[in-house]
Amino acid sequence: MLTVPLDALHRELGARMVPFAGYEMPVQYSDGIIAEHQHTREAAGLFDVSHMGQVKISGPGATAALEALLPVDLVGLPVNGQVYALLTNDAGGVQDDLIVTRWDDDVFFLVVNAACKQDDIAYLRDKLTGLEIEVMEAQALLALQGPQARAVIADLLPAAAGLTFMSGCHTDIDGEAVYVTCSGYTGEDGFEVSLPAALADSFARRLLADERVKPIGLGARDSLRLEAGLCLYGHELSDVTTPVEAALMWSISRARRRDGERPGGFVGAEAIFARQDDGGQLRRVGLKVEGKRPVREGQAVIGPNGESIGVVTSACMGVTLGAPIAMAMIDVAFREPGTELSVDVRGKPLPVTVTRMPFVPQRYYRG
């Protein structure tokens, strides 16, 4: 089992450590998931996401080579701009979802899922021969999320205080180079800081010394992202799910769509466009659960005639919403918000309603 650079700090803070994607990670601290979720929505939460993969891709032709893989507009991406991208396969399915940041003309910084990173790196090395692919093993990644995150960052990393959603900047901590972006996985305004592992502990302690900041574990990270309507690889996304079923067609940049300036030309484009035409059989939807009993991942979604029409892919207590919520992959015929369905909870049908996502409004800072 691998450990993150903040391992000692997590234990000192009373974290319950669990195995996650090959790492020992904090699932919660002593306050518990509900309090951590609320704190992030009300103040600022510090998340250690150092288990995620950080990869720098550079070299002549990097922009075109990455555009040949990813369904996003990298030609039009400004330096320090970021974009959410799906790593698609030939069948139009999803191998991973990631964030791409342009650092320079032909220099890109990728953040990929922990559980996918070895496969991603092998795939990128295979597809991007001729480019330099640097796996930034010695970097930690910390996220600070919540309505007070910006004020906290303004004190510690003033260069980043004006960043708008999905942009970043190079700055330094005590003279050491770090990269800060305005992004995250909670639906809140917030930042992610990529920094040398050796700096992680002292910087995290500096953040935690601010009374607005509390440490937040993976448990609340999951409930926050679900309320924000964000997908988790291995749950909503898989190598047999195309962006059509995942309801992520918005993530295919305008320029790369069939009617765009540079249509297609990414891995799986034909399959995805064909699926767009036939609409697919399934669709990712949000479900709001009636009452207080939560539904669970893997439970069947039941249609009006008692037939199984899909499966719950993620579920949690919507702490901010005040009701249990879920995402599910269901028969496209039942996708309309307001449709009343049920979930089979250990043999009992629990009423649920298809609900527009995000479940709670996103509060990104766009300037």
């Binding site: 518990g32 998931i33 409930s223 009993r293 939560p294 949690c316």
Partner: protein
């Protein structure tokens, strides 16, 4: 460190049982159990009047992360359920041995209690599990 009152009896499945003065037995889950589950968001209790045998499934406790079955440590008729848990399931976390109780049974055979663990043995059992 979790708290294990010496005057209660415990099941290895983490429920506690307390013999009351009127001969009924109150059942809840241990401090160790609530701590392991994390924030409790829902509790399903048995039906009033139901007759359960020791070891029967008697409900479900749902935390933010997981659902766990509750088993009754002794047999008998369910004569009371803690309806307050419907609106305040978090009481299971804050007061597992008092306001966070689950249900009360009119026991058929008080000797069922003799099959349960003492506080000391239960702590040893938890230490072994972890």
């Amino acid at each position: 460190m979790s708290h294990t009152p010496a005057e209660l009896k415990y099941a290895s499945s983490h429920e506690w049982a307390r013999l009351e003065g009127d001969g009924t037995v109150t059942v809840g889950i241990s401090d160790h159990a609530q701590s392991a589950l994390g924030d409790v968001v829902f509790v399903e209790l048995p039906e009033l009047g139901a007759t359960l045998a020791a070891g029967d499934e008697a409900g479900v406790v749902e935390s933010v992360k997981a659902a766990s079955d509750i088993y009754t440590p002794v047999g008998g008729e369910v004569v009371a359920i803690n309806e307050a848990l419907e609106d305040a399931p978090e009481t299971v976390n804050t007061d597992p041995y008092s306001d966070g109780w689950f249900f009360r049974l009119k026991v058929e055979d008080e000797s069922d209690l003799g099959n349960l663990l003492s506080a000391e043995d239960y702590d040893a059992h938890c230490a072994e599990e972890s």
